[in-house]
């Protein structure tokens, strides 16, 4: 039987909303969007890469699905527009778009 693994970015006080950017999820007037970005260092990317390396299926609620669907398929285009802010060789993007 396959396992279900919950993977999340979370602050010490339990917030998981809008880690990647201010426009990701401003629900409820949330103004701290993008709080996780400054912690995306090499070891974090390694962790994400490792968890995306094995075959997996992604189970998402509606909101996260819509955020992901609007972002991940366009990572390559975004990279062309702004290479500094949008990495091309994102292991998570690769795993998600296959």
């Amino acid at each position: 039987m396959r396992k279900i693994i919950v993977q999340s970015f979370i602050t010490l006080d339990g917030v998981m909303q809008s880690p990647g950017g201010p426009h990701e999820d401003p629900t409820g007037g949330f103004t701290y969007g993008g709080w996780a970005v400054s912690y995306f260092d090499e070891s974090m990317m390694k962790f994400v890469g490792e968890s995306a390396a094995k075959p997996f299926a992604l189970l998402l609620g509606r909101r996260t699905y819509e955020i992901f669907a609007a972002h991940w398929p366009y990572v390559n285009e975004k990279h062309k527009e702004n290479p500094k802010e949008n990495a091309l060789d994102d292991p998570f993007a690769e795993a998600l778009n296959i």
């Binding site: 006080d13 339990g14 701290y32």
Partner: protein, 188 residues
Amino acid sequence: MRKIVIWDVMTLDGYFEGVKPWDLGFHDTVWGKELEDFSLEQAKDIGTLLFGRKTYEGMAAYWSKERGPIADFMNSVEKVVVSNTQIKTPWNNSHQLDTNFGDAIRTLKNKLGKDIYVFGSAYLTSELLKHKFVDEIRICLAPIILGAGNPLFKSPTDSTSLELLETRQLKTGGVTLRYKVAAKEKSK
């Protein structure tokens, strides 16, 4: 200047006690020889314990009757209570902070001696964070999703950036986390 250090056991979903006051059953998931040693080691650096009213009253009632190395420490160390109401529960070497909160905490920090620690006292903790008085946060993360309870960090408040100083994995499954409040957050 003395440091103010926050120390709490917290569940993965952010509670420091259950729904009812002093509902601390989840401490059993992390408590053991290692955490006891950690507490005794930490006690060597404590000059003053700073409490909110509820934690003070519960601690006073509990520790006054206890025996042993931790009880001896708790009963002998200086204890300061922050409350708007008159505290009537007696406890050896304790007194109430009676002047303006900010000035009183500054005075306390400027006294010579060992550091100031805060246990429990979630509202006081949030108040200290808001005023940028906190130097360090130590959490023992308990491997449990409690589902309901009293959150350690009160919301909403200003955000505070932290620097990770140390993590330690306990045999019980608990993880101790030691954070410094980032320099840019500190009051001048």
